[in-house]
Amino acid sequence: MSKSEVKLLVDGKRLDGRLPEELRNIEMKVDVVSRADGSAMVKFGNTIAIAAVYGPRPLYPKHLQEARTGVLRCRYNMAPFSVVERKNPGPDRRSIEISKVIRLALEPAIFLEEFPKAAIDVFVEIIQADGSTRVTGINAASLALATAGVPMKDLVVACSAGKIENTLILDLTGLEDNNSESDMAFAMMPSKKKITLLQMDGLLNREEIKKLMDMCEKACGKIYEMQKKAIREKFLVKS
């Protein structure tokens, strides 16, 4: 990929005026798809993800059923209009992989063994993409699962990190992602301090990875508080 000539860091500030360790504006809302059992919308700056959860529900065809445990099915999809150049609709190599990654990030948190022979379906739609779509999707999916009343060990919180111009940064935008020296997707169960997703692309040395993981963990703490607030708001306003 050809690197652009744009300077990504000017006087220690990023193109959108953020400091390296600053997150974008985050907005969260639960219960946005009324017919789903649970749903949520999460915005990380310009990135918008909507997640809807159905189930546990019967799983057909029957050969997909597991006798001892439930099955989690995830679908990650980007809308054709979510990026500047039209994205060819439908699943492609990239979204199939991300679907799997999201599934693996959520699975450890869910008590699937309570629903043998059944399935929980998670749909993640990216309405607008500007970097860090998979982590935005995971945050939305975890909120949707919680509001669907699915038994979970903990919420799953995700955030991205990377390195541009020798500086470690958090929450990459699309432009930063395309021109980064390295980028990392990170998800964890914050109150259990357990990491459920760790992906990395590019070059980093051992210290940098450690530093980035620490940064992510801190950022996840903040995002976790927002998630809790989003759910509480929805269910307390009613009271």
Partner: protein, 227 residues
């Protein structure tokens, strides 16, 4: 509940309390000696039991639950029944009919056919969630006519009310025949069934309101007087 009448809610993964020898109820899990929330709901920490009243989630059948089911298929010696859960329930012939039936000579759809609504009891749930229902309990019957509505199964206790107070008001004020299944299916028959459905949906929507019983009573009285 605090002074403002706002119920405290917990999210999955939140620490509730130490176990301290107490029993674990619904919606919680243990890690070491610490008890955590498993589902979104209202915590209930009592002297001898820790549990959570869930705010959402599907119906998971439990032995002894009185449910309303819809027959989805007729088999050789029984029926499969939809009980608004991820699992279909099986109603064996022996649990449904008292008299002797020769299955080689009789078509058992004469008792229950596809799309029939029945009021029954969950008699057995195995570990891998094979569910059996029975019609042998008192009150079990086939429900003829009427309408079937579906609500959030977690709101069923509110629809029934303490000792049946809420449902009795609706029954009295509308004169409808109403059966409430633990699974969230509600069957209503009677002339003023629209009013009853309205009231039930209102309870489902406003289940958190304190003093809802009086509110519903007033609402139904008003409509009663207008006629």
């Amino acid at each position: 509940m605090n002074e403002e009448g706002i119920r405290e809610i917990v999210l999955p993964g939140e620490f509730l309390c130490e176990k301290a020898g107490r029993k674990l109820g619904n919606g919680v899990y243990l890690e070491g000696e610490k008890v955590f929330a498993k589902v979104l709901g209202i915590p209930k920490i009592e002297e001898n039991e820790i549990s959570i009243i869930p705010l959402a989630g599907v119906y998971i059948p439990r032995t002894g639950d009185r449910v309303i089911g819809k027959v989805v298929s007729v088999e050789i010696s029984g029926w499969f029944v939809d009980i608004n859960s991820p699992y279909l329930a099986f109603l064996p012939l022996s649990e449904a009919v008292v008299e002797f039936v020769d299955i080689y000579k009789t078509d058992i759809s004469r008792y229950f056919d596809v799309d029939d609504t029945i009021f029954c009891t969950v008699s057995k749930v195995t570990k891998d969630r094979t569910v059996q229902v029975s019609m042998k309990n008192i009150g079990s019957r086939k429900l003829h006519g009427g309408v079937l509505i579906k609500i959030n199964p977690n709101k069923v206790p509110r629809i029934i009310g303490k000792g049946g107070s809420m449902i009795n008001i609706i029954k009295r004020k509308t004169g409808c025949e109403i059966y409430v299944g633990r699974n969230g299916y509600i069957w209503i028959k009677g002339e003023k069934k629209t009013k009853a459905v309205e009231a039930i949906l209102k309870i489902e929507k406003e289940s958190h309101v304190i003093g809802l019983t009086e509110k519903i009573e007033n609402m139904l009285s008003e409509t009663y007087e207008q006629k």
